[in-house]
């Protein structure tokens, strides 16, 4: 057992975990942040994507201990109070989700995609970049629309800041 200290969604947290504990299980089982999901056991599906120090990471491929001292953001931490993150709003407005299970990972990946491309995205780039996130409901059509829409919204939001 080890004590892991890190920052999650802006709050300092500490948990006593088995050494083999994965970050996703630290989040779900110890911190009750159940928005981060587990959809596979081979790091293919991306339902567990969170941000570690601002970068999208599959939290099923990181030991909790490896995340010690880092700054983790989960799906629960991206809205500002009642104000949704532009990516969340775009997923809702474009019907980019159905069952909702892959959605948190999709949104966290998509935010990172927009950041890495400085908001300059086209459909082919979005489709290629989403390769690590599997959705079984939407056929990706509306997810792609949502990401492109959000890229525009995030640019506007950034310009306003």
């Amino acid at each position: 057992m080890s004590t892991v200290k890190l920052t999650v969604n802006g709050k300092a947290v500490s948990a006593e975990v088995e050494d083999r504990t994965l970050l996703v299980h630290l989040l779900r089982d110890h911190l009750n942040l159940t928005g981060t999901h587990v959809g596979c056991d081979t790091s293919q599906c991306g339902a567990c994507v969170v941000h570690i120090d601002g970068r999208a990471v599959k939290s099923c491929t990181v030991l909790a201990g490896q995340a010690a001292g880092s700054n983790v953001t989960t799906i629960e931490g991206i809205a500002k109070g009642d104000e949704l993150h532009p990516m969340q709003a775009a997923f809702r407005d474009n019907h980019g989700l159905q069952c909702g299970y892959c959605t948190p990972g999709m949104i966290m990946s998509a935010i990172d995609i927009v950041h890495r491309h400085s908001g300059n995205l086209d459909e082919a780039t979005v489709r290629h970049e989403l390769e690590g996130n599997i959705c079984r409901c939407t056929g990706y059509h509306n997810i792609v629309k949502a990401v492109l829409d959000a890229a525009g919204r995030m640019k506007v939001a950034q310009a306003a800041e």
Partner: protein, 779 residues
């Protein structure tokens, strides 16, 4: 329609919790004192269990109990059942072998559970499972249909000689044979409909809790139909009586059919929760999903179509072998029979049809309904035959279809179905226009000049949804009725709760069902709450599958609404001292027509509950229920056209365009309908290009993870161009037909027709991987 009424693309109410990480799926639930289950599964496809030694595991840290298949039998837990009886052509019933929740003696597929460890933590349960020693005596395995029917094949179940479950026929054999004898042309095809894994993104999970003083169980489970689960667990599996079992299906992360069925893990969790006296949680991992979720499709078919000299279809003859796996899953028997062969007429006037379906046992995961369930297989047979015929007869494939379309309705096919309405010319014309069908030859020539192979493929599908009426399906062997129930509760303050037996696991019922209320009463959907997925709250229901929720579930709500409105009008008329016939409902107000007198819905509701001033003899309250049993199936239909380009050097196929023109009758929420089509198309395209289960000769599942089984990714798919044509369904008052499965039913034939057109070789199996396509080009 109003901004939130029927026909409006209202943004979904349920989305906020999902996009903020506040959904509540089964694995998110924690109960006080909860233990964790891990199953020990057979590594062999076919074996006798010689012994199970649990003594070391019992000593492991945190272990609460280790339970085996023999204990399941000793406690008289019922075997899993198949709920649709099929009769063979010789008049005998289907040959169902016993399927205990955990195997006491014999295992018949890799992954079948033989024992379970219950421990304080999931990791402790996993660790202890490693210490359980199971001795097996391996038996020869039957990995596929051909092996199952081979002379001298190993036998799976003593009840099913030759591994044959049933040999069933439909249609007029003699008349069909005669049609082939007098045919001017005959087209034939051998078709493999590849086996698929549904792979809802949320793995199955169950939490069972037993309340000893009350002798009452609660089961939280990933179910598309919690009431059916309770019925089956009570009536057949002897877990508890219905009033002592509550089944809750909270947020469920996709189903696609795979979460219709009641699986061994839920049964064992319930049984074990009583045995160990603690709540028991099981959450499957992805490998377990591959090894235990019911698979889909898996047919071998020989199909022939007869034409007269004018290229009119005169007959269709089909022989299909269907693989049902190692055991008969809940509705498995109906999928390759009444959900498949009854759709073999497609959109065409075919006077003579005969089909024979032989379902067999193999040492593989049980096979059951997966999105479309039988109808994709039927549509693929018919549409591949049509395309092949056009090529063989050297006529345009669109023209051949149009020549044979059914144009008069109602239309009785030779295989049970009575199509109520449709306009097949309209949808094909819309699709041809959308893809510029007339311009294709020029595009093909241009592609050729650039060294690319260009092909176009049509698929005109029809499906039968909202499977009904109950009396009819009962006469065909169904063990359940297929109606739906609803209750409308208007609260004293005028807010509304809709209790429905339908279950939403991505379909958006929390929005679309509210839209009906907004349409009827003119109240905002924020005033309406949909309650579903809990047998303690909703009286009964048949759940969501077969694209039935709008046609059957929503109509039941409408029927209950009509009763509520009638009573509310009486109350309003009494309060307003007017005739109830003069009361009209507008914008949430009950108005006396032609006057300025009105009463708002909350005031009517309050009057109903205070009961101070109701018409003489009227009961207080404003709550009504309804059971709705449709008079017929609904028949969504449409046309899909796919244009593809194939690289002859690599065999890789690339989408140029994919257009869909669907007729779903009235659309409640076009945005949601289109989302359903997108998802269905992705699964149909996945079957055509990417997905396929592979077992090796010993029955090992080679494709048991997302590393090995190709799920469609975003860059495998195009953006789709959708359109709608409309004939209103005459069978229900809303005129709706259902849209959940269409894409999965129609897409695969369009893709294969396009690729085979591009490469000018009709022999190509699904999934059409670059390797297969390359070999089809180069031999």
């Amino acid at each position: 329609m109003g901004v939130e009424g029927i026909g409006a693309s209202v943004v979904r109410k349920e989305d906020r919790r999902f996009i903020t990480g506040k959904g509540r799926y089964v694995d998110d639930i924690k109960l006080v004192g909860m233990t964790h289950a891990h199953f020990i599964r057979s590594p062999h496809a076919h074996a006798k269990i010689k012994s199970i030694d649990t003594s070391e595991a019992m000593k492991m840290p945190g272990v609460v109990g280790v339970l085996t298949g023999q204990q399941v039998v000793d406690d008289k837990i019922g075997n899993l059942i198949c709920g649709w009886a099929i009769t063979s052509k010789d008049g005998t019933g289907m040959k169902m072998g016993a399927w205990p929740a955990m195997a006491p003696e014999t295992v018949r597929f890799v992954g079948q559970a033989v024992a379970v460890v219950i421990a304080e933590t999931k990791n402790q349960a996993r660790d202890a499972a490693e210490a359980v020693v199971v001795n097996y005596e391996e038996l020869p395995a039957v990995p596929d249909i051909r092996a199952a029917i081979a002379p001298g094949a190993p036998q799976l179940h003593p009840e099913a000689p030759g591994n044959v479950i049933y040999d069933w026929t439909i249609g007029d054999e003699a008349a069909t044979d005669a049609a082939f004898k007098s045919a001017a042309n005959v087209v034939s095809l051998d078709i493999t409909n590849n086996r698929l894994v549904p792979n809802a993104m949320e793995p199955r999970a169950a939490i069972a809790e037993y309340n000893e003083p009350e002798e009452h169980f609660t089961l939280y489970t990933t179910s598309q139909n919690p009431h059916v689960a309770r019925l089956v667990l009570s009536a057949f599996y002897n877990i508890a009586q219905e009033h002592k079992l509550r089944v809750v299906a909270p947020d469920v992360g996709g189903g696609f059919g795979s979460k219709i069925f009641i699986y061994p893990e839920e049964m064992v969790a319930l049984w074990a929760s009583k045995k160990v006296g603690r709540p028991v949680k099981w959450t499957g991992d992805r490998t377990e999903a591959f090894l235990t979720d019911a698979h889909g499709r898996d047919h071998l078919t020989k199909a022939e179509m007869a034409f007269d000299k004018d290229n009119k279809v005169t007959g269709l003859r089909v022989k299909t072998y269907a693989n049902l796996g190692g055991y008969m899953s809940l509705f498995s028997s109906s999928v390759p029979t009444y959900l498949y062969a009854t759709l073999l007429s497609g959109q065409y006037n075919i006077p003579n049809i005969f089909a024979e379906v032989i379902s067999v046992y193999t040492n593989t995961v049980p096979v059951d309904a997966y999105r479309g369930a039988g109808r994709p297989e039927a549509s693929f047979v018919v549409e591949r035959l049509m395309e092949t015929a056009a090529r063989q007869l050297k006529v345009d494939p669109a023209e051949l279809r149009k020549k044979n379309f059914i144009t008069q309705f109602p239309h009785q096919t030779p295989v049970i179905m009575a199509y109520d309405i449709g306009d097949f010319h309209a949808s094909l014309d819309a699709a041809m226009k959308a893809i510029d069908y007339a311009g294709f030859p020029a595009r093909k020539a241009k592609a050729k000049s650039e060294g690319k192979l260009r092909g176009i493929g049509i698929s005109c599908y029809i499906e039968a949804c909202g499977i009904a009426p109950s009396k009819a399906v009962g006469s065909l062997g169904a063990g359940v009725g297929l109606w739906e129930s609803a209750e409308v509760r208007v609260n004293p303050v005028g807010t509304i709760e809709i209790l429905t037996g339908s279950h939403s696991h991505g379909q958006g019922h929390e929005t679309t069902f509210c839209q009906l209320i907004a349409d009827r009463l003119g109240v905002p959907i924020s005033q309406v709450q949909i309650v579903h997925g809990d047998t303690d709250k909703v009286q009964f229901g048949m759940g969501t599958y077969g694209s039935r929720s709008a046609a059957v579930g929503l109509t039941a709500i409408l029927k209950a609404m009509e009763k509520v409105e009638a009573k509310a009008k009486k109350i309003a008329a009494h309060q307003l001292e007017a005739s109830e016939n003069d009361i009209v409902i507008e914008n949430g107000e009950f108005k006396v027509a032609g006057t300025d007198k009105s009463l708002a819905l909350p005031m009517v509701a309050l009057a109903a509950y205070t009961a101070h001033n109701l018409p003489d003899g009227m009961e207080p309250g404003l709550k009504e229920g309804a059971f709705y049993d449709p008079t017929n199936f609904t028949f969504p239909a449409g046309a899909y056209i796919c244009e593809m380009e194939v690289d002859a050097g690599t065999g890789k196929s690339t989408f140029v365009n994919f257009v869909a023109a669907d007729d779903f009758g009235r659309l409640i929420n076009p945005m949601i309908v289109e989302g359903q089509v997108h998802g269905g198309l992705a699964q149909g395209i996945g079957q055509a290009l990417l997905e396929g289960v592979v077992y090796d000769s010993s029955g090992q599942l080679v494709t048991a993870s997302f590393m090995d089984y190709t799920m469609p990714r975003a860059d495998d798919l195009p953006s789709f161009k959708l359109s709608h044509t409309t004939t209103l369904c005459p069978g229900n008052p809303l005129g709706v037909k259902g849209c959940g499965e269409a894409g999965a039913i129609g897409a695969s034939a369009a893709v294969i027709n396009a690729i085979t057109d591009a490469i000018d070789n009709n022999k190509l199996e699904m999934p059409a991987t670059p390797d297969r396509v390359w070999h089809a080009i180069h031999g």
